[in-house]
């Protein structure tokens, strides 16, 4: 099989994931896109490992080992990422990435306070959601 097929597929998948990371609004969709990117890399690793194990007669199988590690790390990453998204959602009442603008210029050192006042408008709803979400 031509090595170009998996390599091109991997590049296209990677760029698709890249688009998702940059364009999606919901944090969980961004996490999905990150998974796509990781898988594209995995495909690359496996394809090149298969090619090298024959062509170069090397037996280290580093590509496959690294792919396994990537899978494990991706699993850990998705767990932590979801926990963070949930914590953000509990505190701010949203998981939209483009609304998390605490680092914006002009936000001032009293950022958390103004955030509280912002979310005060939807305080009862947010509180109910929090209680529900953490139960």
């Amino acid at each position: 099989m031509h090595l170009a097929y998996p390599a091109v597929l991997s590049a296209l998948l990677f760029c698709t994931g890249l688009y998702g990371v940059l364009a999606r609004r919901n944090a969980i969709l961004v996490l999905m896109s990150v998974e796509l990117m990781l898988n594209a890399v995995n495909l690359n690793l496996v394809a090149f490992d298969v090619w090298l194990s024959r062509a170069a007669e090397e037996t280290l199988h580093s590509g496959q080992a690294l792919a396994l590690f990537t899978i494990a790390i991706a699993a850990a990453e998705i767990g932590i990422g979801l926990a963070i998204v949930l914590a953000v959602y509990r505190n701010l009442g949203t998981s939209d990435i483009d609304r998390l603008r605490d680092t914006a210029e002009g936000h001032g050192p009293d950022g958390p306070d103004s955030d509280v006042s912002d979310s005060d408008a939807s305080a009862p709803r947010a509180a109910a959601e929090k209680a529900e979400a953490t139960r």
């Binding site: 890249l18 990371v21 940059l22 990435i97 998390l100 603008r101 680092t103 914006a104 936000h107």
Partner: protein, 664 residues
């Protein structure tokens, strides 16, 4: 111990006392008074021993060079001749008296520890000047005295007068010190050494090429330190300090340093006729002008300050006629009676609660309140007025006699013109001195009116010192004018008939005229009530004096002048009275000539800095600020925007790298 060791210990002991006083002042207040008085007493004893051993014979010289210091070596040198030995005795006597007096005078002052330590340091610096055989070491003592006088004059720094006076004293003396330093360097370069003995040797061999320039440069420093015209203006204002400080610094030691310095290097000055003439003119203007000003002052301490300037004028006059024996003789006797005058004035101010002569002349029985001050001050004033047989008579006659010697052509050392100037100015000043001494005595002790407030007896430490100092004022001149020439250059100091008769005559005339005027004007005293007394008469003397100085300006409109029609000085001086009270408006003149141009220059510089230089700076800051504003708009807080920009940049870089690597 050898004489050298003893002489080294004399300045060292007060220095150690000052260090210990500064270190222990906070932690062990009980040690402060012994640490102030005992080193002074010990160095007095040592100075007496040094003087006795030296005995007017050949000078004791010792020198050690610690380390090579460039082309002209600086040595820790000692040079004790008759002048140094006797001046050191005077300095230690006055310093001891002042330290003892201060324990009573500043009894309750919270800053007494630092005050006493500074007085000790000051004494040590003056003794260093006196004993030093190396001009650089002398300069160290010279400058330490300057800074100590700054601190001591500003002792009551709560009052604006004291702050201004301390700054003025420091700046004016420093103004003289700069040319002084340049002169020292020039002198050392030409002589090849800072050692006084070698310099004098070079002068004797004609090794100094520019004696006039060097002498004039040195004279500037001497004028600043010894308060000679035109740099004398700091001394009257320096009376804002405590009275013992005035006695120590501004009567006996610091101002004496300049005269003493010229006396040491007199052969150098003699090498230049121009310098001697300048010295004579300076002395004449100083003594006549200050005597006129003293006649118009209302503050008792300012009277004494102008009197000090005048007496220093006598000393520089004696130097101008090349008789340093007479100069140092007058320095010794003047040091004793002027210290006495200041200390007695401190007692009087304490007792009366005011420093104004106008207010004292309206107190009935001031002399009964302070009998010690009354009697000792009478002695000191007689000495000041040069009435025989008090010490001032002999020393002043020595000066006038020396001038007469020059006039009659008995000496080659000084130009005859200098002799005439000094002689005439000296006689005029003798008249005026007697006049203001009489006026001071009459106004202070012969006042009439309500009785002075009774604060009980003055502290024993203050009155005892007065009697100790009264002894040399009374007897020093008569007993010693035959002995002193052995210690000095050998020129006779005995009064000559002509000058004695002339001097005593004009002094008597001055006194009698003043008395008559006072009889005439004292009738007005009752009609114009005047008076301002301290608010806390029961406080210690230092507090009373500080309040008196602070209240004089508000009460009379000026710190030196009082609108008192019963003042005999007003009638005697006539239209001159007002300018004399203001020190002939020299301060105003200096303000117009120097201060205003400097201020205008400073404001010009400030304008240039604020408006011109800062415009460039601001302009340099504007562009980055605009850039910052533009960049700030990119900080949206949206992470996706950031990551997009990051990845776009990465792609561009990667493509560029690939293109570069493939050579496309």
């Amino acid at each position: 111990m050898t004489t050298t060791t003893l002489a080294v210990l004399v300045p060292l002991l007060p220095f150690l006392g000052a260090i210990a006083g500064l270190l222990l002042g906070r932690t062990a207040p009980g040690f402060v008074r012994p640490l102030a008085v005992l080193p002074a007493l010990a160095s007095l004893a040592l100075a007496v021993v040094v003087a006795a051993r030296q005995g007017g014979d050949g000078a004791v010289d010792a020198a050690t060079e610690l380390t090579p210091t460039g082309s002209v070596p600086i040595e820790l040198a000692l040079h004790v001749d008759g002048f140094a030995a006797l001046t050191a005795v005077l300095v230690t006597v006055v310093a001891t008296c002042v330290q003892i007096y201060s324990t009573g005078y500043l009894r309750d002052d919270p800053r007494y520890p630092s005050y006493a330590a500074l007085v000790s340091l000051f004494t040590s610096a003056m003794l260093l000047v006196v004993y030093s055989g190396d001009l650089m070491v002398l300069l160290v003592g010279w400058e330490v005295m300057g800074i100590c006088s700054y601190f001591l004059v500003g002792h009551y720094w709560e009052t604006p007068e004291a702050r201004a006076a301390s700054l003025k004293a420091f700046l004016v003396t420093k103004l003289g010190d700069v040319p002084f330093l340049i002169g020292l360097f020039a002198l050392a370069t030409e002589a090849g050494s800072f050692r006084i003995t070698r310099i004098l040797g070079a002068v004797a061999n004609g090794g100094i090429e520019h004696p006039t320039l060097i002498a004039l440069l040195l004279l500037a420093g001497v004028a600043g330190k010894s308060a000679q015209f035109p740099l004398h203006t700091w001394l009257p204002d320096a009376m804002a300090g405590p009275t013992p400080v005035s006695a120590l610094i501004h009567a006996a030691t610091m101002v004496a340093a300049g005269v003493y310095f010229v006396a040491r290097l007199l052969p150098l000055f003699e090498a230049s006729q121009a310098a001697m003439t300048v010295l004579a003119v300076m002395a004449a203007v100083t003594m006549a002008g200050s005597a006129l000003a003293a006649l118009a002052q209302d503050d008792i301490k300012r009277v004494l300050a102008y009197s000090t300037i005048g007496q220093l004028g006598y000393m520089t006059g004696a130097l101008a006629v090349a008789d340093r024996g007479a100069a140092v003789f007058h320095l010794l006797s003047h040091g004793a009676f002027k210290a006495l005058l200041f200390l007695a004035a401190g007692v009087i101010i304490h007792a009366s609660g005011t420093n104004s002569l106008a207010a004292m002349s309206r107190m009935g029985n001031l002399r009964d309140r302070v009998p010690d001050a009354y009697w000792t001050m009478t002695v000191a004033l007689l000495a000041l007025a040069a009435i025989p047989p008090f010490s001032g008579f002999f020393s002043k006659e020595a000066v006038l006699g020396a001038a007469e010697h020059v006039v009659t052509g008995h000496t080659e050392h000084a130009p005859a013109a200098a002799g005439w100037i000094v002689l005439l100015a000296g006689l005029v000043t003798a008249l005026l001195t007697a006049a203001y001494a009489t006026r001071l005595w009459l106004l202070a002790f012969r006042g009439s009116g309500p009785e002075a407030p009774d604060h009980g007896r003055q502290p024993l430490t203050m009155t005892t010192v007065l009697w100790v100092l009264a002894v040399p004022s009374l007897a020093l001149g008569g007993l010693s004018f035959r002995v002193l020439p052995d210690w000095f250059d050998g020129q006779g100091l005995a009064p000559t008939v002509t000058t004695s008769v002339l001097g005593t005559g004009v002094a008597l005339v001055g006194g009698i005229v003043t008395y008559a005027t006072w009889r005439h004007t004292t009738a007005h005293a009752a009609r114009v009530p005047l008076g301002a007394v301290a608010a806390h008469p029961e406080g210690d003397a230092g507090l009373v004096e500080a309040e008196a100085i602070a209240s004089h300006g508000p009460a009379y409109g000026d710190i030196a002048y009082a609108p008192d029609p019963s003042d005999p000085g007003r009638l005697l001086l006539g239209p001159l009275h007002r300018p004399a009270a203001a020190g002939f408006h020299l301060d105003a003149l200096y303000t117009a000539l120097f201060v205003r141009p400097v201020r205008a220059g400073a404001s010009l510089v400030r304008f240039l800095d604020r408006e011109v230089v800062e415009t460039y700076v601001r302009g340099a800051g504007t562009l980055p600020r605009w850039l910052g504003t533009a960049v700030r708009r990119a900080q949206t807080g949206n992470l996706q925007t950031y990551v997009s920009a990051l990845l776009a940049g990465t792609v561009v870089l990667a493509v560029a790298a690939v293109l570069f690597a493939t050579g496309a």
